[in-house]
């Protein structure tokens, strides 16, 4: 007989397991190329959090929390910190707050590194943190 509450479907959880890495890679890909082609922190963050939300639905919130390993709120805090430091680097290196600083290093895949890129990564983490905090809180309530 069907057991409740984990009315989970094996097919769905297997599919999610398979898809998680693809989605995460795709979201990071969107994030890093954001500067030169459609993408960026917001979209990347949303896609990544959708992946985790899917995991939360297919299996359960606790599984999703374990896979994420870090408390979503802490992710958000970390994101804000990264974003702020990106702004401060501009200030510290003589320019004004949030002035873009381009050290001129050019990585093969990602392209030129710079503080706006760092800021974008900060945005990515904040968006992921934000969405997952909301989704997980709602889900915990429900389960």
């Amino acid at each position: 007989m069907a057991r409740w509450p984990e009315m989970e479907s094996v097919i769905l959880s297997r599919a999610t397991r398979l898809m998680m890495p693809v989605l995460i890679v795709f979201s990071v890909f969107l994030l890093l190329r954001g500067h030169n082609a459609p993408g960026g922190g917001f979209v990347g963050g949303l896609i990544a959090s959708t992946a985790f939300a899917l995991l939360a639905i297919s299996d359960s919130v606790d599984v999703a929390r374990q896979t994420l390993r870090i408390e979503p709120r802490r992710v958000m805090g970390f994101g804000l910190l990264v974003a702020l430091s990106a702004g401060l680097i501009g200030l510290l290196s003589g320019g004004s707050f949030f002035e873009g600083v381009w050290p001129g290093i050019k990585l093969p895949v990602i392209g030129k590194l710079g503080t706006p890129m760092l800021f974008d990564i900060g945005v990515f983490f904040v968006v992921v943190g934000f969405t997952l905090t909301v989704v997980f809180t709602l889900l915990t309530e429900e389960d």
Partner: protein, 112 residues
């Protein structure tokens, strides 16, 4: 028409046709399960074909890999989605079409 254009057309038009058939199926078929089988199978195959046409048409490395990724994604998720809807509909007590002969699931999800 260049060789690649022919291939694109060969992939694109049947894709669109299949999707139209899927839509017609969704309209004419009698109950949820039949409609679902039509849409998930026909439409998904149609999309895959059109994505392939896209991949062929844009030869460059980046786009075609992404198109292939989307195709794989569709091939993976469509059946899972169809399965989930079907089960949910059955649980929700959707009536089967009067003409269905066998219902394998009868009795499997009894109220406990």
């Amino acid at each position: 028409m260049a060789w690649s254009e022919v291939l694109t057309v060969v992939l694109l038009v049947p894709g669109a046709a299949l999707m139209l058939i899927g839509a017609i199926g969704a309209i004419r078929l009698q109950d949820t399960y039949l409609r679902m089988s039509a849409t998930s199978k026909a439409a998904t195959l149609g999309v895959v074909l059109m994505l392939a046409a896209g991949a062929v048409h844009f030869g460059d490395m980046g786009t075609s890999t992404r198109a292939v990724a989307t195709m794989l994604f569709m091939l993976l998720t469509a059946p899972v989605a169809a399965h989930m809807i079907g089960r949910a509909a059955y649980l929700a007590g959707e009536p089967l079409w009067v003409g269905t002969r066998t219902d394998d699931l009868k009795g499997m999800y009894e109220e406990d």
